[in-house]
Symmetry: C2
Subunit: 486 residues, 2 copies
């Protein structure tokens, strides 16, 4: 199958679009390599449990037979064509973070398990990809990036001038016993601001997300950012004299409302000490249709309402208000949020959350350190790729060298090498043919590697100190002296 490609102007830049829909990453099944007519394997191992088990047992039973060619279950290989798409996406993440003056950091994919189990109860902790290392230490492949950031900030405490504006892009892992066609790893782009107590931090973070959405061509008609505050839950719990510490665990339960039957949610809330009347109060508050309606429930001038109003006003100044929507049912499933929470969804509501974030002022003190106001978001690589593909906005960057250098005669190999090296030193991307090939193969290969020019070392031209340079777009050929070759 050949993908339909066309150029589109998005956010002032030209994008190559492709109309096709296969795996989350691969925008097209089009063969980049033409050696065979059989379709490329879906390298993505998702939803391939059965096929893979055959592979595994083959490899295990027939010792010396073919190894399992799939990566571990729930993980992905990135072939060059897949990696180019991912790098385009990560490049946009990074570009936006830098436009906002954020600095990049990185922590290990492996962390002490304790970093994630301190704040118990989250779904993310229940699915921890944890194990005991050979030294008997409990470790885990990180399920998210925020606890590592918090650790790093605490390790820097008193040395780093606040506010910190930091970002990272890293792989996160989870282990689910049940197969539900979901991956065990994904990448996440996180941006965090440490040291700013006001909602100016949340507004800046939301502006970064919206800058990304605009750059990739997703407008407010495509994506809605639902915004609410954990302060709403706090206010309701306070009214029923439930300790503030319960907000996190209660939020985790309330967040499951659209997945679980109401009775189950009420049962879990009861287990947290939330009586039926308080539960009803919470449910009413999370169903408020507007800020005024919520204000009527919480009482006038409540801090959470004030903050949300301020946030929406700032959003106007940022020019991102059209993306935002107050939604009292936006809770988020992580227990550590303390203030504003938000999540991005496709407008149609067909996909899972695209990104989520909020304020988590208590995380550092939960970790035993000095409290610091913190806000941030996590933006995964999978749902956005699905949405971009669906909207025909995922580019198909091609492999592209500038020169393909070919010795037409083995005696000219040293000359071809010298020419290639000369071009590379001048900064050109050069594919050097390492073996004798027929010209038919050479032209096919030039197409495969997207070469702009063919640089031929042939006896006749070489006798005159020249190489033949063929422009592959115009088909024009000129003889160029080696000394003039760049």
């Amino acid at each position: 199958m050949l993908a339909t490609r066309h150029l589109t102007l998005v956010g002032g830049r030209w994008h190559l679009r492709v109309a096709a829909s296969f795996t989350a990453w691969r925008p097209s099944r089009k063969q980049r390599y033409t050696a065979a007519a059989t379709p490329a394997p879906v390298v993505d191992n998702e939803e391939k449990g059965k096929e893979r088990k055959v592979g595994l047992s083959l490899a295990q039973e027939a010792k010396g037979g073919l190894i399992d060619l799939q990566p571990p279950r729930g993980t992905r290989d990135f072939l060059p064509e897949d990696l180019r798409v991912r790098q385009w996406l990560f490049g946009e993440f990074e570009a936006v973070a830098r436009l906002f003056g954020f600095e990049q950091f990185e922590t290990p994919v492996l962390e002490s398990e304790a970093l994630f189990t301190r704040k118990a109860g989250d779904e993310i902790t229940q699915q921890l990809y944890n194990f005991e290392d050979k030294g008997g230490r409990r470790v885990a492949l990180r399920p998210e990036l925020t606890p590592s950031l918090a650790r790093l900030v605490l390790a820097q405490a008193g040395r780093a001038a606040l506010p910190l504006k930091w970002f990272t892009i890293g792989q996160c892992w989870r282990y689910e016993r049940t197969t539900r066609g979901r991956r065990r790893e994904h990448y996440q782009w996180n941006m965090d601001i440490v040291g700013v107590p006001g909602v100016g931090a949340e507004a800046e973070l939301l502006a970064a997300v919206c800058a990304f959405l605009q750059r990739v061509g997703l407008g407010p008609a495509d994506v809605v950012i639902k915004v609410s505050s954990r302060g709403v839950l706090s206010a309701v719990l306070a009214r029923y004299a439930i300790p503030a510490a319960a907000v996190g665990p209660v939020a985790v339960v309330v967040d499951k409302m659209d997945k679980l039957p109401l009775a189950k949610v009420e049962e879990e809330l009861a287990a947290l000490g939330v009586a039926a009347d308080a539960a009803a109060g919470i449910l009413a508050a999370t169903q408020a249709a507007s800020l005024p309606e919520l204000e009527a429930l919480l009482g006038p001038g409540h801090e959470a309402i004030t903050e949300l109003r301020e946030l929406f006003a700032l959003a106007e100044a940022y020019g991102i208000a059209d993306y935002l929507q107050f939604d009292a049912s936006c809770i988020r499933g992580l227990s550590y949020y303390t203030g504003v929470v938000f999540e991005g969804r496709d407008r149609a509501g067909e996909l899972r959350a695209i990104f989520g974030g909020g304020r988590y002022d208590a995380l550092l003190s939960t970790f035993g350190g000095e409290a610091q106001p913190c806000a941030g978001f996590g933006f995964g690589d999978c749902v956005i790729a699905e949405l971009l593909k669906e909207r025909d906005l995922l580019p198909v960057p091609a492999h592209q060298v500038e020169d393909l250098v070919v010795a037409m005669d083995e005696a000219l190999r040293p000359a071809a090498i010298a020419a290639a090296q000369r071009l590379r030193r001048a900064g050109r991307r050069v594919d050097l043919l390492l073996e004798p090939k027929k010209m038919k193969w050479v032209f096919k290969h030039a197409e495969r590697c997207g070469a702009a020019r063919l640089v031929l070392l042939a006896p006749e031209e070489w006798a005159a100190g020249a190489v033949r340079v063929k422009d592959l777009a115009t088909r024009e050929e000129v003889d160029v002296l080696v000394a003039d070759l760049v």
Copy 2:
């Protein structure tokens, strides 16, 4: 401590050099953040076993106390200043690979254990960071990248047009029970060519390595690439009628010659069925001082000799011959090499190997697939950083925004936001101050974030529709209409 910085011309490009030597990555302890006078913590956790244990037990015993602030033993955090250095290095890796027309791929850091235990006996396998996942599968954090490449190539078999020229940069793990002050993770840059049987492949790979060395300022006086061939061992073993399959395991033992007593090496060789006379033959061959001397041992016209001669001739054409040196004692510790092997060392011979590689034509068939000629190298991130630091060649890229936008009055915050957004849309990296701060703090912060300009929103100028723009290098100030602000 302040590092001494100076600019140096290296390979036609200016480098900021810094004279200081602390951790492998951090070229300077200079505080990027000036909030405190206390020295920055060495985030690198290497050789910090004792200190760390205290941290661990604190976190474990005093539940609710401070969490362990260090990453898992043997792993590294990368603070922004560390990550910038690493990204400079990875950027050079990637730039070289692209100049040579290679395509990037990526495989998961977690692989099935079987991928690494097929070819048993290597040191790398003995130190495998492996464990059982919750589903009872044996998995491992990859110790190297080549087996994953081989898996991916086999999965593509028949679909990918050969030769493949692929590269990857990935984190690799090992688990050592004993503490020797060595890390448990490092990054590796791999370049591989699949489908080229001749030494033209090895020459191209060596040229890429040398291009990297030249770009970062390391000449043949700094780095030597020792070159030999597993064919030497094959020839000796064949003479004593030892099966060809023994070459890999024998090589792994012979590679340990400079670490183990001779008697121990001979004992291990005997265990592999290599009798004393054959062992003596091997040792003599690995001590040959030159190609002619080796030829005298192996007999004239031996294939390994021919290949090495051809490789050295190609190196002349590439202009890299000064880096190369025939060294019969260069064996490499991986069992899968079958032909040319090479490793890079600092000329002074003070550091461990900087990189290593060679030909591994049998790996794909070991994995049960169709054999393909393969050659490649792995280039770690640690030893090269040590060497560059020692040679004063490690740059210190600074955090650098273009504009720092400041509202001098809270009423002007929306205007400041709009100005920042305008500048960002024009592609400028903008740090927006999110809270009221004193001007003294603002100037200090402008220095910290390397701002080129200060964009001030002040009531008087704003009344005239203008913002004040201060060039922080020249100290010049001009009032600019918002509409003209880019």
